[in-house]
């Protein structure tokens, strides 16, 4: 790269499932693509999980399969290359990375995905203050160790999940639903019960959104087979007890009574927000939509196109979505890009 400007047909920003899938499809169509990922690993937003809904398949295996696609298709792919600026110059897009290197591309696919909500912003829930409070992503790391423990390293008596942390909450400015956390809580609750059958598991919810195939059945199984308790009500306060457990306050809105109980672990189901990269790059080229997510041209027929010619979007940079949603969306984007490259002669883009 030594200072030269690299010229590319299609630049794909973001090496998550969406970016990798689009890159591999496009390269199989004979399109010359380059893939840029800001982190040092591919699909780190998958690699930090243990097992995935809906089928409890291994997250590490999915990352491996995706990485393999990059190798098999010999895609020029750059890790630790965060793109910090994107602008249209004449008929090309100019990308600039953190090190100041520039790349010129005919076409760009934005696949910069999401970051989790910073749970510290909900101070009343005590994340970063009380040892027993963790996020759903922290719990994935614990599940990877194969053992569920409380802060003393013992088997927990009780694990409690709280839905909608950082989503559906005017107080932090996110009115939307993050879509994946309801089923993730059901999945994680089952995993906790499998690893620690003696533990009481509670899930506090406002609505349970079991939108996908098999999700409702999984919820039913969580109740029937694992005795997981689903309580309708939002935990609005957490405090520490003398023995380093977490005391929570909620209302069981279905009996109309306030509730006070202590739990070893309180797991916050953090929502999906537009990633820093998504916010920044979408704003750079005027396609920033609500909450900083990237805005497509039209939701039904042009959901991968944007207001800018030659700039496409795919995956969770647009809105919260699951992996299969993101991968399907990336395939759709690849089709759009192939069409676009066909109808726009090389000298007129």
């Amino acid at each position: 790269m030594d200072g030269k400007i690299i010229s590319i047909q299609v630049a794909i920003i973001g090496g998550g499932p969406a970016g990798i899938e689009a890159a591999s499809i496009l390269s199989r169509y004979g399109v010359q693509v380059s893939l840029f990922e800001g982190e040092s690993k591919w699909a780190h937003n998958i690699g930090n999980k243990f097992k995935l809904f809906p089928d409890f398949s291994s997250a590490d295996e999915l990352v491996q399969t995706l990485s393999q696609k990059i190798v098999e298709n010999q895609i020029p792919a750059y890790l630790s290359t965060k793109i910090v600026a994107l602008e249209k110059q004449k008929n090309a897009w100019v990308l600039t990375d953190e090190q100041g290197r520039s790349y010129v591309a005919d076409t760009v696919l934005l696949a910069t995905g999401y970051d989790i909500f910073d749970a510290k912003r909900k101070e009343e829930l005590g994340y970063g203050i009380y040892n027993g409070v963790m996020t759903s992503v922290d719990l994935e790391a614990m599940l990877k160790t194969g053992k569920i423990t409380n802060v003393l390293g013992e088997q927990p008596q009780c694990v409690t999940f709280l839905q909608c942390v950082g989503s559906r909450d005017e107080k932090i400015g996110n009115h939307y639903c993050s879509k994946v956390c309801c089923v993730t809580a059901v999945k994680q609750a089952i995993e906790v019960k499998k690893m620690s059958p003696q533990t009481d598991v509670f899930v506090f919810y406002m609505d349970l959104r079991m939108w996908g195939q098999g999700f409702e059945e999984l919820y039913r199984e969580a109740q029937e087979k694992y005795s997981i308790r689903f309580v309708r009500g939002r935990i609005s306060e957490a405090a520490s007890t003398f023995d380093d457990r977490v005391q929570i306050k909620a209302e069981d809105t279905l009996v109309g009574q306030p509730l006070k109980m202590s739990t070893d672990l309180l797991v916050l189901m953090v929502g999906m927000e537009a990633s820093c990269g998504t916010k920044k790059l979408a704003a750079c080229c005027g396609i920033d939509g609500e909450y900083g997510f990237a805005l497509s041209k039209q939701p039904h027929l042009a959901d991968n196109q944007t207001a800018q010619r030659g700039l496409f979007v795919a995956g969770a940079c647009k809105r919260p979505m699951s992996i299969s949603d993101a991968i399907n969306d990336a395939r759709a984007a690849a089709t759009e890009i192939v069409e676009y490259l066909k109808i726009v002669p090389a000298n007129k883009k």
């Binding site: 308790r229 009996v255 009574q257 509730l259 006070k260």
Partner: protein
């Protein structure tokens, strides 16, 4: 009877281990109870509830939390007609549940007939 809301008495639910144990027992006796998703279908169709203030869904929820106060009297309002069982979308055997609840809450309330029913309807 005043069932439900009072202003003067604080009624914060604080689950106890004993209460959890009671629930575990009940769930073993009536495993379908675990599947309840609180839709309220049972209450809506309840024969007794059409004439008097009686909310069967709320009763079994209070039991879940170990809130037994006045529950046995409340349960006497049920006529064991079984309509609730017929409508439940999650297949909860409410009739059996109610009988087991009565039994757990106050054995004196059970006639021989009911005890026979329990023996023959263990699920």
């Amino acid at each position: 009877m005043d069932f439900g809301f009072t202003i003067s008495k604080p009624r914060s639910i604080e689950p106890t281990e004993a209460g959890k144990e009671q629930l575990r027992l009940l769930e073993e006796q009536v495993p379908t109870f675990r599947r309840c998703m609180n839709c309220g279908g049972c209450t809506a169709t309840c024969s007794a509830g059409h004439f008097i203030n009686f909310n069967i869904r709320k009763v079994h929820n209070l039991y879940r939390w170990g809130q037994y106060k006045e529950l046995d009297e409340e349960l006497q309002k049920c006529m064991l007609c079984g309509k609730c069982t017929l409508v439940c979308p999650r297949g909860v055997n409410l009739r059996s549940l109610i009988i087991h609840l009565r039994k757990a809450l106050n054995k004196d309330h059970l006639s021989n007939d009911f005890q026979h029913f329990i023996r023959n309807n263990n699920r």
